[in-house]
Symmetry: C2
Amino acid sequence: MTTDSDTPWLTDQEQRAWRTHLDVSRLLMHQLERDLQPFGLTNNDYEILVNLSEAEDRRLRMSDLATSTLQSKSRLSHQITRMENAGLVRRESCESDRRGLYAVLTDEGWDTMRRVAPHHVASVRKHFIDLFAPESLDALRASLAPVAEHLREHRGSL
Amino acid sequence: MTTDSDTPWLTDQEQRAWRTHLDVSRLLMHQLERDLQPFGLTNNDYEILVNLSEAEDRRLRMSDLATSTLQSKSRLSHQITRMENAGLVRRESCESDRRGLYAVLTDEGWDTMRRVAPHHVASVRKHFIDLFAPESLDALRASLAPVAEHLREHRGSL
DNA sequence: CCGTGAAAGTTGAATAGTGAATTAGTCAGG
DNA sequence: CCTGACTAATTCACTATTCAACTTTCACGG
């Protein structure tokens, strides 16, 4: 960061909170990935499917999809190519702006989504949601939301 | 998961908590990575350095390092090779078990660690720790700890 | 001792992710 | 219209990660 040496080290309490957050996010991603594997999807695949299936007309501009999934344009482009080869999405050109492209959910993509979603939800419940008391879940969201906000403002290129 | 269709969908409250957690972990990793870039280190590099510098004799067995950094053996092996080429660590063979290897922090690795750590801590503070009220940080740890525990038990190969 | 199974670690090929450069299209000002 | 700055998206060259196959060593039951 900009300041050099006058930053206080993390207290024990802070250390532990930080390590715990770190461990949870990594282990959780791994676990979700594993639970998705039997369906031939990765976490990233799944997130694209969610975003598209919730979108108007099951389609989104590449840029918007990149923004909402927090990926670089380049990465998304590769990702969509893979999913296109797998038959889950297709690219469609955009009338109003000829530079633009839509990523569109195919019927197969939609079916896959409907088939897999319940299992994924179960997985999220089992390994995350259901491990909290209801109030503590809300406290979690409340304390994390400003962090997300801060990071979104701060974020540069991706 | 094993059960099929009797899993309740996520409530709105749950959805939001889940998305927020997801966003924070991704944005945060990106941000930390960016803050580390000027020093020529990645997040993974840094974590290896932390683990080794805290260890007895600044050395750890490959397996132990893999476990404590939650990586696969293969990935760690590649990672250490890169860091070895960068002069940050070296491999040393193990007397007591000739299959085994130690990853050892070099002097350069140690210096790098001492130089970079304050900046990294500042970064963690700025983008995470300091955004919580002290009690809410502790609440966070408390509610996340069982999740980490659960995931650690559940985890298979990696 | 010997053999068999498991553990420590590495390797290599295939897949995924990154960042800079590139292509193509838009749009405002003159 | 035309030019220069900007945006959408892809491509290229490189680095990182995964997964399975492999080597070496250990441990232990017969």
